[in-house]
């Protein structure tokens, strides 16, 4: 990456608004500081640099949030976002888990991104995104603060996702009025998208009904170097080197990127044929260097006879959904709200 820096920076600047460029470049820079060559991670600095926001039970733009520990053993925290009733200005503590008051309320279990190592549910970027989802989809959003790599490798993040799924499906207050069941969707970006897939796979065998998966720039990979990886390496904020680092940090030691966690449709993957897998909305950014893997994922779902809608945004980069200042953002938000609506 070092050599062609000058060219690369100009290219990425051309395709995103300036404030988006500043935001993502800043992340890139900060993240470079945190990854150590020996595979360890400067967690203290990461937490210091991460811009965080507390939960807020006072509605802001009609949405309020609160944090719940759903597993004391692991300290698993989730942040729950809900729409405030029109009348109430300040829900008190008994109102936080008041039953949802609608015929059909989508409950979206959200897994934030960060390549398994960065960010938390209370990161400002994800808090903001979740709030948007609530407003758009009239949903309850449950953002899972899963354990991160490298301190917690595979399968911790999936285990936490699984715990959250079980917890959500057993909350009576999340049941929609129409059929007294919890209408669960799962959504995630980057590593969160990867988690969505694997938790959904686990759900299939257990009888918990997931109505749909939403994967935004999901994090997949494999040993092979795809064409998009080679072509786009270092060009739009992301390098192959850092992708490799994150996989090494997450996957079990001595495993390579064909491990099914990374490459679910690869040589070690399990077939999804004949399985009642949730319908999927897969959003792929054309300037994301791993987009070949993401497209292959959608293809894999299709081949297994699963319902999948692919949204390929050719000129989008990573993180386009963090700021509402581009067309891709709006297009995707519209698709998501349609995806979780009851008639779809």
């Amino acid at each position: 990456m070092a050599g062609s820096n000058g060219v690369n920076l100009n290219e990425s600047k051309r395709v995103v608004p300036l404030n988006t460029w500043v935001l993502i470049s800043n992340f890139k820079l900060a993240y470079n500081l945190l990854r150590r060559p020996d595979g360890t991670f400067n967690r203290h600095l990461a937490e210091f640099l991460d811009r965080k926001v507390p939960a807020n039970a006072n509605p802001v733009d009609g949405v309020f949030s609160f944090d719940v520990i759903i597993d004391r053993g692991t300290g698993l925290l989730t942040r729950i976002y809900r729409l405030a009733d029109a009348q109430e200005s300040q829900p008190n503590i008994v109102d936080l888990e008041k039953p949802v008051n609608s015929e059909f309320v989508p409950v979206i279990i959200f897994f934030h991104g960060g390549s398994f190592a960065h960010s938390s549910s209370n990161s400002a970027i994800y808090d903001t995104l979740c709030r948007r989802l609530v407003g758009l989809c009239k949903a309850v959003v449950v953002s899972v603060n899963y354990r991160r790599a490298p301190e917690n490798r595979y399968p911790c993040a999936y285990d936490d996702g699984w715990t959250a799924l079980n917890w959500v499906s057993s909350r009576t207050w999340l049941q929609s009025k129409k059929d007294s069941k919890v209408n669960i969707y799962m959504a995630g970006d980057s590593s969160g998208g990867n988690i969505v897939h694997h938790v959904a796979s686990r759900a299939v065998e257990s009888g918990i009904d997931v109505l749909g998966n939403i994967l935004l720039n999901p994090m997949f990979g494999g040993q092979e170097r795809t064409e998009s990886e080679k072509r786009l390496d270092g060009k739009y904020f992301v390098t192959l080197q850092d992708r490799d680092w994150y996989w090494r940090a997450f996957l079990p030691e001595r495993e390579d990127r064909d491990h099914p966690a990374c490459n679910p449709f690869g040589p070690k993957g399990k077939s999804l044929e004949g399985i009642k897998f949730p319908k999927s909305l897969v959003v792929v950014a054309g300037l994301d260097l791993v987009h070949d893997w993401q497209l292959a994922y959608a293809e894999g779902l299709k081949k297994a006879g699963q319902e999948v809608k692919l949204l390929y945004l050719e000129q989008a980069t990573i993180g386009f959904y963090l700021l509402p200042n581009n067309n891709h953002f709006h297009a995707v938000m519209d698709e998501i709200s349609e995806f979780v609506s009851p008639n779809c």
Partner: protein, 430 residues
Amino acid sequence: MKREHPNLHPQQLSEPSSLAAAGYSTSTSTSAMAPHTGKAKIWDEGESQQADGGMDELLAVLGYKVRSSDMAEVAQKLEQLEQVMGHAQEDGLSCLGSDSVHYNPSDLSTWLESMISELNPNLNLDPSADSLLAPAESSTITSIDFSDHKHHRQPKLFEESLSSEYDLKVIPGRAAFSQTQIDSRESKRLKTDLYQTSSSSSSSSATTIGSFGVSTESTRPVVLVDSQENGIRLVHLLMACAKAVQESNFPLGEALVKQIGFLAVSQAGVMRKVATYFAEALARRIYKLCPQNSTDHSLSDILQIHFYETCPYLKFAHFTANQAILEAFEGKKRVHVIDFSMNQGMQWPALMQALALRPGGPPAFRLTGIGPPAHDNTDHLQEVGWKLAQLAETIHVEFEYRGQLLFKPHIKPNPIAVLYDMPSCSGVKV
């Protein structure tokens, strides 16, 4: 092409340091991006989101304070930093993460500048920019005639900075004079909530104070060294030396401890003293220079008392032990404590006072102090006993004392407190 999204108003953050307090204008997202133009039209932020203070609203919601008017400049700094980091090795980058002190990361502009100055102190930036960087000269060694009054002025600066809330700060030379610098420090907040505590102190090993190494003679030319770097190196050096000593790697320790001496004198004030003492202690370990057993024990006794008073660890241990004793003796009329490592008897005044205040009145307190003989042939055990007896008298606790010399104690068991309660006699080891 504009799109109105009324429910996508920028959110108000509830954190106090957020500039949301100023109030946002409720403009909706406006700068639509035409994805296929390769032109730099995107840079025209004329109709872009602006709030009071000109902050970019969208970034503000995500926790970053950047003026819209500064956006291009911030982008430039990012590019600059990228260039500089691209030249550094991978190793250097993550070391930078742990070596630097990071200012408020929300204030992107300042944060980036501080990073740039860390990585490249020789960089001559545009002087018209509001630069907080140390000038290029400060990182080189120059000879300057240093007049006396300047010498006296320097320590005062350090006093100011030391007295402020956060001790772990880098003062990059000239920036110590800058008001904005101080503001950005003050605005750094450590928030604690259910999530992990962000902690900057654990990440910065740079307990440095920028200073100038000055020789005492003002007539001679003086060597000016940027000790900001030296401070960081000093800390690392001390740690490395301590580690070497711990691993009994004395050749390495010896090599390192010699270096410490040089670096320590380049510091001023507190850092200099601490580093010098550490270096001395490490040197003693390395060269196996144990202090000779002086005949005068009174000094070490006094030091021990001071240490006991200053440092909480021993006191706390004694406190917990005393609590256990008190609980064990509830209701008992007689207490006998056997202290196998009676030194100055620092533990017992507190216990005696607690006994005196016991509801129902104090028990009779008997203390047997066991210890090695003193080197100066004084009967120190008895002396301690007398002092405790005096205390007992003033607080009206019936007190008996016996000192017992024990030669060559192999073991140092904890004091044993013995219950006396009429017929039965039970011992409680505390």
